[in-house]
């Protein structure tokens, strides 16, 4: 598993590196000293795992994740920050308190590896193609105090709101700072379909489809939401589904 350590303190990075020595499955491919540095290295090296400090100069750890198109697995590290601790506990995020206890580190690594084993096969399978964001990818979403790692598979619908996109999953509908067009370009076309100017639906969540005005279609999603398929897109949509 390729990992990047993100922490502004050299000693903290050194100490974590030392603690990770016994874990042969973790290969540290880089260290980053702040969010900007980390974003560059993540884009370049595409790690499976981040050890991420929250308090850093410039953007903090959460803000870094929000900027990422798709988030790798993350184990947060923090010394003590009431606000962050609340966020971790509230959102069931994986975190380690510095100084880090070796056995807690072991538990966290076990959890992450268990989660990603099946994913690695899937990735190898598609790695030769142009890499789209698949249903197995996850995004980090923060909405006020709440934050989530959401698997794209769980997202029923993307809705455009200016420069933002609203995600619908479970009972939540937070906004992320990403235009619908940019998402459309990156999402796997086998799972996600742009039904009109304002919406992208997850095909796996479609419950039924009815004919609609002007030769368009009306898609009903599991959970009850209804979205219109524009006439232009309806043709493509029919083609796709008949495949």
């Amino acid at each position: 598993m390729k990992a990047i350590i993100v922490d502004d303190e050299r000693l903290a990075r050194t100490e974590l590196r030392r603690l990770l020595v016994p874990f042969k499955e973790i290969e540290i491919i880089a260290e980053a000293v702040n969010a900007k540095d980390a974003a560059e290295k993540i884009a370049l090296l595409n790690p499976d795992l981040l050890f991420l400090d929250i308090q850093m100069p410039g953007k903090n750890g959460f803000e870094l994740l929000e900027d990422l198109e798709s988030a790798p697995e993350v184990i947060f590290t923090t010394a003590y920050d009431e606000y962050a601790l609340k966020a971790f506990e509230f959102n069931a995020l994986d975190y380690l308190l510095k100084p880090i206890e070796p056995h807690r580190l072991e538990e966290a690594i076990k959890r992450v590896t268990a989660k990603t084993i099946h994913l690695q096969h899937a990735e190898k399978f598609i790695s030769t193609e142009k890499r789209y964001l698949t249903a197995e990818d996850q995004v980090f979403v923060k909405d006020g105090d709440r934050c989530w790692f959401v698997k794209l598979a769980e997202i029923r619908l993307f809705e455009s709101e200016g420069n933002y996109a609203r995600l619908y999953f479970n009972d939540f509908k937070p906004l992320i700072l990403r235009t619908l067009n940019s998402l459309d370009e990156r999402l796997d076309p086998r799972t996600f379909f742009r039904v009109n100017r304002k919406h992208i639906v997850n095909l796996k969540w479609i419950d039924n489809i009815e004919p609609w005005l002007n030769g368009g279609l009306l898609v009903k999603l599991k959970g009850g939401q209804k979205v219109e398929v524009s006439r232009r897109q309806s043709v493509k949509f029919r083609d796709m589904l008949s495949l």
Partner: protein, 353 residues
């Protein structure tokens, strides 16, 4: 002590009774002499009257005490006083008359019903006056007592406020320091040793100051030095600091953890947010009877934060200074050229206030 007070109060009561009625007796007696026509028979009625007065008001007092009139509302009290005044003046008049007859000071043919009313009215006024004085004294005393209670309460509140305002060690700092030390143990054992000493100094200081309102400047600045030393182990080349003061400020008493908190906040809100890091400078000098402390650091503080006294420990420090020194201490925070400068001026008392 309470018994003493009680005895004292009793004494005062009797002095008042004797002086009051005695004074009344002397005053009347003098007027009587002034009008001429002195007779022993008549003169004897005055001390007599005074004695009866003392006795009756003493009974009234025991009723007042037993029935706790002092706790009644003014209206209730007024009716009670009015009623008792009428009753006592009537009894008194009757007693005086009876004794007069008995001692045959007056003869039956001298007796006039109007005279009885005059006597009753006069004694009534006396008793009423007595009551007014009695209750006024008590109200005044109660007022004083509640004033004292209020002051004691205020002092307790102030003490509590000061205690809570005294900044605690920041746990975030503690754990980060410990984490750095853990890394240093392998990398630079001697630096790790120094760091442990510095951390224990800070910890000891924070325990010590729980019991003090002010500490000598030197003790505080020693802690700040240890603190900055530890933070430098953590931030490495990203933190530069300078501490400057002349020996004449060493013994000036200052609130504990005040400079420490401000330096800590300077790092937390200032240079820890700058990827390239920055500096913290602490300077202190004596200006006549005042101590001037300046803490300058890289970073900026928003005007909003200054206005709302948020962050940087601004409101906390202001309140502490106000509680300890009133208007004599000054605090200011300014923003310029991407530096934040905190300035504190406080009275340079060399001993505790």
């Amino acid at each position: 002590m309470f018994n003493n007070l009680l005895k004292n109060r009793n004494k005062i009561y009797w002095i008042c009774q004797i002086c009051g009625w005695g004074g009344f007796f002397i005053f009347n007696f003098l007027i009587y002499i002034g009008y001429g026509g002195f007779s022993w028979k008549r003169a004897i009625t005055f001390p007599y009257f005074a004695l009866v007065g003392i006795a009756s008001t003493h009974i009234l007092r025991s009723v007042i005490k037993k029935r706790r009139w002092i706790e009644k509302s003014p209206k209730e009290l007024f009716y009670r006083v009015l009623f008792s005044t009428l009753l006592i003046s009537f009894i008194l008049t009757m007693v005086v008359l009876a004794i007069n007859f008995g001692a045959s000071i007056f003869n039956m043919h001298e007796f006039k019903i109007a005279g009885v009313f005059v006597t009753m009215f006069n004694t009534g006024i006396l008793i009423f006056l007595w009551s007014i004085i009695y209750f006024l004294v008590h109200y005044f005393e109660n007022y004083k007592k509640s004033e004292i209670e209020r002051l004691v309460w205020e002092a307790a509140v102030k003490d509590f406020e000061l205690k809570t305002l005294k900044s605690q060690l920041n746990p975030h700092f503690m754990f980060n320091a410990l984490n750095s030390i853990r890394a240093l143990i392998e990398e630079n054992p001697s630096r790790a040793k120094t760091a442990i000493t510095q951390l224990s100094n800070i910890f000891r200081y924070s325990l010590k100051i729980e019991r003090t309102e002010t500490v000598p400047f030197e003790e505080e600045i020693k802690t700040v030095e240890d603190y900055l030393g530890l933070e430098q182990a953590r931030f490495e080349e990203r933190l530069k600091y300078r501490i400057e003061y002349l020996p004449d400020v060493r013994n000036i008493e200052i609130p504990p953890m005040m400079i420490q908190t401000l330096v800590e906040n300077g790092i937390k809100h200032g240079l820890s947010k700058l990827p390239e890091g920055g500096f913290v400078n602490v300077t202190a000098e004596r200006e006549n009877d005042f101590l001037k402390i300046e803490i300058e650091n890289s970073g900026s503080v928003s005007d909003d934060a200054v206005a709302q006294a948020k962050g940087y420990g601004i409101s906390n420090t202001k309140q502490r200074l106000h509680l300890l020194y009133g208007d004599q201490a000054k605090f200011s925070i300014t923003n310029f050229n991407s530096h934040v400068k905190v300035k504190i001026i406080l009275p340079a008392g060399d001993s505790k206030i």
